[in-house]
Symmetry: C2
């Protein structure tokens, strides 16, 4: 990781943690236990890959950081809710997440259920409420300086100068990406696949929904906070799809190779659960090759963007070359 990129990641991660702290309901407001558990499930953990993708796409599109903060938070809350529900006994029954007891272990199952439900709701609330009198109203006091490298091409026709329309489109995007034909649908297919042997296209279909849809949405939401042409948006969408799939392939490789301490979650879980993975289907080297191929393709889709896509390229490298 280049030093410059490393400090970009660290700065955004640290600042974003404060953004999340400010956007989550305070633990001293009723119902206290629920709010405390919501904060437990979201704060102090995770690489924030989706928010980082949103920030990088936002920089490409010349968006204000404070505006991307809200979109990135919405995506991360959806991700966090899915982890809380996914870890529950009726799903993956996992006890460790991000190096801490999972939410239902730390609190109880009923609370974990409500935590996930409420985090999802909050994601949509954030996308809808951070505006006033038709003008965006964002809470963070110290936005980072703008990259100033954003594409200055024509706004998408539909959304020219129409903040509310654009926000509504972001609500729609996030909902489609996370619902029964997106992330939740992928989890349903995942459940149905336990103990079955899937073909590569079937496995891909599952992961494009389960992991890919939200990663793709993170890129698009970041871009929607600024100005990009419809054609650029299509290329970013394709980039998001490829990198989302690469993310899952790498996850499978790491799950197979790493130990629990490094991963911060129970390792080897998928193999134990008799779930099909890229490693079980392609072997470890085959999976590594596939990740490399997706990585190359993803970088190709960014070719036309020049310097403005530098952070997205670095994130693509980071996602594929990470060791945890």
């Amino acid at each position: 990781m280049r030093a410059d990129f490393q400090s970009w990641v660290a700065a955004h991660q640290a600042r974003f943690e404060e953004v999340l702290r400010g956007l989550l309901p305070r633990a001293d407001i009723a119902p206290q236990r629920l709010h405390e558990a919501m904060r437990y499930a979201v704060l102090d953990g995770g690489k924030r890959v989706r928010p980082l993708l949103a920030f990088a796409a936002g920089e490409l599109a010349g968006a204000e950081t404070a505006r991307v903060d809200v979109a990135a938070a919405a995506v991360e809350l959806i991700h966090a809710y899915s982890l809380v529900h996914d870890d529950m006994p009726c799903m993956d029954d996992d006890v460790l997440r991000r190096g801490k007891p999972t939410c239902h272990v730390q609190y109880d199952e009923a609370t974990a259920l409500l935590v996930g439900d409420s985090l999802q709701t909050l994601a949509f609330q954030l996308l809808a409420e951070h505006r006033l009198n038709g003008h965006a109203r964002f809470p963070h006091p110290n936005p980072l300086p703008q990259a100033g490298e954003g594409a200055n091409e024509s706004l998408r026709e539909l959304h020219a100068n129409d903040d509310a329309s654009r926000q509504l489109e972001m609500v729609r995007l996030l909902a489609v990406a996370s619902g029964s034909r997106g992330m939740a649908g992928g989890q349903a297919i995942d459940l149905a696949s336990v103990g079955k042997s899937l073909t590569l296209p079937e496995l891909e279909f599952m992961h494009i929904h389960k992991t890919g849809a939200l990663i793709r949405a993170a890129v698009l939401l970041g871009a929607h906070c600024g100005s990009v042409s419809a054609e650029q948006l299509d290329r970013l969408d394709h980039f998001g799809k490829l990198i989302g799939l690469a993310f899952q392939v790498v996850d499978d490789v790491l799950d197979c190779e790493a130990d629990t301490a490094t991963l911060g979650k129970t390792a080897g879980k998928d193999a134990d659960n008799d779930k099909p993975t890229y490693v079980s289907l392609l072997g470890i080297q085959g999976a590594r090759d596939m990740a490399q191929r997706l990585h190359c393709e993803a970088l190709e889709t960014l070719a036309g963007f020049g310097d403005s896509a530098q952070r997205l390229r670095e994130l693509a490298d980071f996602i594929v070359l990470r060791k945890f």
Copy 2:
């Protein structure tokens, strides 16, 4: 129930069932089992009290029925998701709902979890996507004729002629009503209250969140589909709050009096679970008196609306005088 009102209810219930059928994902689209279970949890059941309130408020505000359909569906999907999750073993552990096996009994717990999650997402998706080029695009082919009695006062200042802003406000309203400081928060307080004795204000606080918030939102969302003044909206909000509370008080009375067959869900459940209710706190006659008082207050808030509020008045009567 007056014959005229009875046929209004029946017509809207029947038409709305078709609206829901059209808006829910088809059961032959992947993931099939999840989509089938979502349809199972929503269709063929329930009195549709919240949608009816939205339709009545929409008539008062002179809204197009097709527009209210989407808002009413969003509210009903949130309600349906909450029932699916509420019935799960880690919450109320209930096996019967609307005269049918609950979702996790009919399918399995993991599917029920994903059904609830996906119904919530779909609610927000619907509110965001039913528009095109800034103009509302609604799916139902045969909207009912308009009542034509809607208030013709000034639009709320903020939202004049701005469909997207208005839709975004509806997303925000629904999210606030159903999240950790609304419905889900009320359920968290409910959980924490098992085996405890609450005071009347504490019980009221719980139900204003658990049941009241969404009923209130139904009235407001219906009104937002048409044109009402800010002052009228405030009065409708107060009406929604009172009638939401009355709904819960009546529920407690019925839960105590009725048998399981009439109710379509397990009767006496709250008392069995050692949950505080209005009946346990006020006695059966005290609870009946309270419902009557709330009913009167609710009707008073509608005094200035004249004929346009007739359906809302009739619904208030229906909610308080219902036997199931």
